[in-house]
């Protein structure tokens, strides 16, 4: 499966999804003009990954500013990961990373943690 690599801009995150190397990362601001279009290849990639996932999948979200339309798309990513988890013996862990005094991303992470059935760690740095 080909990796998906999206370079960061000031307004969109770097995204690395690499099954071979076991790297699943979102890093940077997520303020795209059109979140549906921006996250579409990400959702397509996870949909394909779902058919043959690694035995261990650690997904790291280290996001800065997130607009509300991006939050919806991140929720879609989490739902796809839930489907992988529910489909069998795969081990999935989501890591939500945020700065110590970042109350907004702490709140967002807590909301995702309460909604999702995934193992979901809040990690302060």
């Amino acid at each position: 499966m080909d990796p998906l690599i999206i370079k960061a801009t000031e307004y969109t995150p770097e995204i690395i999804l690499d099954k071979e190397r076991g790297i699943f990362e979102f890093k940077g601001n997520s303020l795209p003009e059109n979140a549906m279009a921006f996250y579409e290849p990400v959702l397509d990639w996870f949909t394909e990954y779902k058919s043959q996932p690694n035995t261990q999948t650690d997904v790291y979200f280290n996001l800065g500013y997130i607009n509300s339309s991006s939050s919806k798309k991140i929720m879609d990513v989490l739902e796809l990961l839930e489907e992988i988890l529910e489909s069998g013996a795969q081990n999935i862990q989501a890591h939500w990373q945020y700065e110590e005094d970042d109350e907004v991303n702490e709140d967002t992470g807590k909301a995702f943690q309460e909604i999702t059935s995934l193992p979901f760690k809040l990690e302060v740095y």
Binding site: L31, E33, A35, Y65, N67, S68, K72, E99, V104, F112
Partner: protein
Amino acid sequence: MLSAHYKHGYSVLDQYTQDLNLEYHGVFERPFLEALWSISAIRFHKHTNSFSHSKKQLIILVELCQNVALYSKDGLGILSISPQKEQNIKIETKNIVSIEQKEALLRHLTLLKNSVPVALEEIHKQKLEEKSSKKSAGIGLVEVYKYSKKVQFKFVENKNSCTFHLTVII
């Protein structure tokens, strides 16, 4: 009419780099919003000296501008930003919405206005989970209420549409 007040966004931003007062009448197009974001990120942080506070201010600015850009007729609107006491800022937007949009906004805003913080958290989670074809399904306004010190809104009806005024202090 909003369109009668159209100004070139970048000349307005030139002044905004010098102080925290901005008034923009025009199209909420992406290049303007990106320039506004870049300058606001610096200006808000200088104004508050608190990362957490300036982040809330920026997120609300993004959501308010996004609302105008996505839902206003022709993307036209008015934005003003002014400094307030205790490192707060006031952000005001005005834009034209249809009567149908007004009804939906009024229901959503009234619910948020009457919700205590714990209830706002629950609404936030419900909106995240909601299957909706809409781009953000009203999450932005939930965040506006969660992080603002004061929110005021009003609708001024015209013939077939109305002007939506939203004022936020944060």
